[in-house]
């Protein structure tokens, strides 16, 4: 496993905007080997917890360790699949209900690889990367999110 670090910014303060997503997509128009983009967006749901509604999730991370973990996940995916491009962005801080907190973007020549890797990345991000979500309820109390 290479220890060379391509500095890829993962964490963004607050919600990920649709405009940012559009700009990311537009940047790929010059990559003429790409035939398929698979994108996953995580959006904050208005879950009900003991009759109280979630109004936001506040994300925190062990940032250095998370970046290393994501770097390894990326390298492994590139080594195992025929990919053209891969980007992962995750929010830190408060993300309100209806806003985007996770943006996974995988591009390949043909659709199979991008679908497969996009889904795998999301699973690994939720399971293996030190990020925590604190669900802020309407009465200002909170509960720590549990991933399914």
């Amino acid at each position: 496993m290479t220890k060379e670090k391509r500095k890829h910014k993962v964490f963004m303060e607050g919600a990920i905007s649709p405009t940012f997503i559009a700009e990311s997509i537009a940047k790929h128009s010059s990559k003429t080997n790409i035939g398929a983009h698979a994108i996953f967006l995580g959006q904050v749901r208005e879950d009900l917890i003991n009759a109280d509604k979630v109004c936001a999730i506040e994300y925190s991370a062990y940032q250095e360790m998370a970046e290393e973990a994501l770097h390894e996940i990326r390298e492994a995916a590139f080594a195992q699949h025929n990919l053209e491009c891969m980007h992962i962005y995750h929010s830190l801080g408060e993300v309100k209900v209806g806003e985007i907190c996770l943006f996974v973007f995988v591009s390949s020549k043909h659709r199979e690889a991008s679908f497969k890797v996009c889904e795998e990345l999301v699973e690994k991000i939720k399971k293996d990367v030190p990020i925590w979500g604190k669900e802020i309820l309407q009465d200002a109390s909170h509960q720590w999110k549990i991933n399914q």
Partner: protein, 77 residues
């Protein structure tokens, strides 16, 4: 010898800090008893321990400037 301990997720509610320093620790197996003595509330919580950004798979000796992290179940995404 002092080691730095980073606190994450739900553990912050109990330890009431992002970070603390522990003294007199020579081995990773000593971390948990010392923490539980200081913060009994953490006994009810599942969490893992990382040493210098890697999960500890087995007990290891600690060194000056080591960074320990207390990691409850991840819930990103």
């Amino acid at each position: 010898m002092k080691v730095r301990v980073l606190v994450f997720g739900q553990l912050k509610d109990i330890i009431e800090s992002d970070e603390l320093w522990l003294e007199g620790l020579a081995h990773s197996d000593d971390v948990l008893p010392l923490l539980q003595a200081q913060f009994p509330g953490i006994k009810n919580l599942q969490f893992k321990i990382a040493l210098n950004k890697k999960m500890i798979q087995q007990g290891v000796s600690l060194h000056e400037d080591d960074v320990i992290a207390l990691l409850p179940a991840f819930s990103g995404g």
